[in-house]
Amino acid sequence: MPATMRVRVRLFGPLREWEAADEGGRELPLGARVSDLVAALRGDGGLPEKLLMASAVAVNQEYAMAGRVLEDGDEVAILPPVSGGRR
């Protein structure tokens, strides 16, 4: 039995416009990092590379680095460049 975990993936802003935007749980091998999840999303295709490149990632509502190790049940959000406020 392979050692896996599930994380919840959330997409926001312009990333919600793409069909690939499944907001559900995602199975990952134990010990997977933020970068592994991003690679998996990229592998799915469907999300525009340019936007993905410019995006940040938050784990459990805090910004997280690419090397951050994920845990079962984590909420991982892909955040395109933000545009709150007003110019």
Partner: protein
């Protein structure tokens, strides 16, 4: 710190903050403009990663108090559909002295625009687009790239 879906009552929020030791209140009122680079705007739709945005807004206000020594920072952002002339974000900083009030107010809006997870889609007469957004600061950018 609040995310609201109704009109922001600038007057009430501004009046509410003053205390006896304050000598300066600096207010930033961000409002929906009628155009972006000359293209006429009909309305804007703001959305947020709400749990995280609120957390970030609270942190921003606390950091501003600590960094600039102001007495109080109030920060409200509106979500949903806004028309031209409506307030999308309001920042009120109360302080004994004016320099700190200005510096803190500006730092809060500048930092909010780069880090708080809120997005806006602009509806023009001839189509809708998501605003480009600002690149994330280096300390956040370890990331989906």
């Amino acid at each position: 710190m609040e995310l609201v879906r109704e009109r922001i009552d600038t007057a009430a929020l501004t009046q509410g903050v003053k205390a006896g030791g304050d000598g300066a209140v600096c207010v930033f009122d961000g409002i929906v403009r009628d155009n972006t680079r000359g293209r006429r705007t009909l309305h804007l739709d703001y959305e947020a990663y709400e749990e995280m945005a609120l957390k970030q807004m609270r942190e921003l206000a606390a950091q501003a108090v600590e960094r600039f020594g102001v007495r109080e920072v109030t920060l409200v952002h509106r979500l949903g559909r806004l028309v031209v002339g409506e307030t999308s974000v309001l920042i009120v900083v109360a302080s004994a002295h004016r320099g700190a009030a200005f510096d803190a107010c500006r730092w809060v809006i500048d930092t909010l625009k780069k880090t708080v997870p809120i997005w806006k889609k602009e509806q023009f007469v001839d189509g809708a687009v998501w605003a480009d957004g600002e690149p994330f600061p280096d300390d956040i950018a370890g990331d989906a790239s």
